[in-house]
Amino acid sequence: MTDQPKAVALISGGLDSMLAARVVQEQGVHVEGINFFTGFCVEGHTHAIRRQDQERPKRNNALWVAEQLGIPLHIVDVIEEYKEVLTNPRHGYGANLNPCLDCKIFMVGKALEWIEANGYDFIISGEVIGQRPKSQTRKHLPVVTRESGAEDRLLRPLSAKLLEPTRPEREGWVDRDQLYDFSGRSRKPQMALAKRLGIETWAQPAGGCCFLTDETYSAKLADLWEARGARNYDMDDIMLLKVGRHLRPRPHFKLIIAREEGETRFLEGYRKQFTHLRTVSHGGPIALLDGSASEQDLDLAARLVARYSSGRSADEVEVEAIERDGTSRSLRVAPLPPEAVPDDWYVGGQHGSK
């Protein structure tokens, strides 16, 4: 091979994938980045929705990393294909609804499709043996290699010396001696390497970069599937699970109640898809009603919405319930006192619904 070897690096936005790409770049390989959008990525969405988060930086970490590395980044929409990974993971879930091993196999498989379509030679992954309990163990790494179909075209520069030599190493596209032997959960080797490579800042997403590793979010998704009697979802479902308090007073309906102005504005965009309630006599949030509600249910829903309005201590609050077709009716209700709202109505627990 006389041409410069070409590789695509899986870029998550975190430190490990950044280091893995840089290590291979340093060896003269042409590297471009790839990032997959499943719909469950933490960064961005909630910042864009919640007003109180407006002051935080809204940058996309994967793009930021690509800029630091000086490489193009290809962001790929895999929302539809990812549904099969999430609803039917061959290797099961982690602590929550996180199908980490299936997810990694899927992403490496998609990267393989990309290198084959674009004439690239191999894939770079920032995986480290023992770093994550579900997907990055000595036992699991070969599963990703095999089931993704990438086989020896998948290079993990940070743990390469502890693994069988891959094609890029055998062909001399990269020098194995200049790769690493990191293992375990310690971050110290990565920090030291970052320092050596002159990398001073990187993103440290709290709790990982995926909503599916979040207990509250997973509980809301499990609740959605149970209420529907089917494990399916669309993009609106994913988004709405990130927004508002979710209360399910009855098995056949739940309320999504905005917690602040930004969420109110966001939920207003769904007025034509859901029956929604809002207080008239007092200031208060918008609430979407997901499911079917009888007259009695609607009364209960109105009392709950009133409980989150500025009229929570009033004897009576006027609430307007508006159907999807725009027809509305007015309900005069007594706000539900806090002690009348059982903890198990809060989907994902009170803490997650605050």
Partner: protein, 85 residues
């Protein structure tokens, strides 16, 4: 007159990304630009303020040039010129 002739050769397209949250506007921009030629211009209209960071960052790493960003009410307009990379 040469200037006018050159201007008429460069296409100008628009892309509606309103009500999409990042990174979807970037993904749509990426798809639109893939079908355009160097020198063409694309105007993106969006509502997620994240585009003010993400589209310029995406443009920089791909060699495109953001030539204008402006806000009008809830809408954000980003205009970019496709690079030759």
């Amino acid at each position: 007159m040469t200037g006018m002739w050159e201007a008429s050769m460069a296409a100008s397209e628009s892309l509606d990304c309103r009500n999409l949250l990042c990174p979807m506007p970037v993904i749509r921009t990426q798809a639109a630009v893939a079908g355009m030629a160097a020198g063409d211009e694309l105007e993106i209209v969006a509502t997620d303020p994240g585009v003010l960071e993400d589209i310029p960052a995406w443009s920089r790493v791909h060699g495109h040039e953001v030539i204008e960003t402006r806000e009008s009410g809830q809408e954000i307009y980003v205009r970019l010129r496709v690079g030759s990379g």
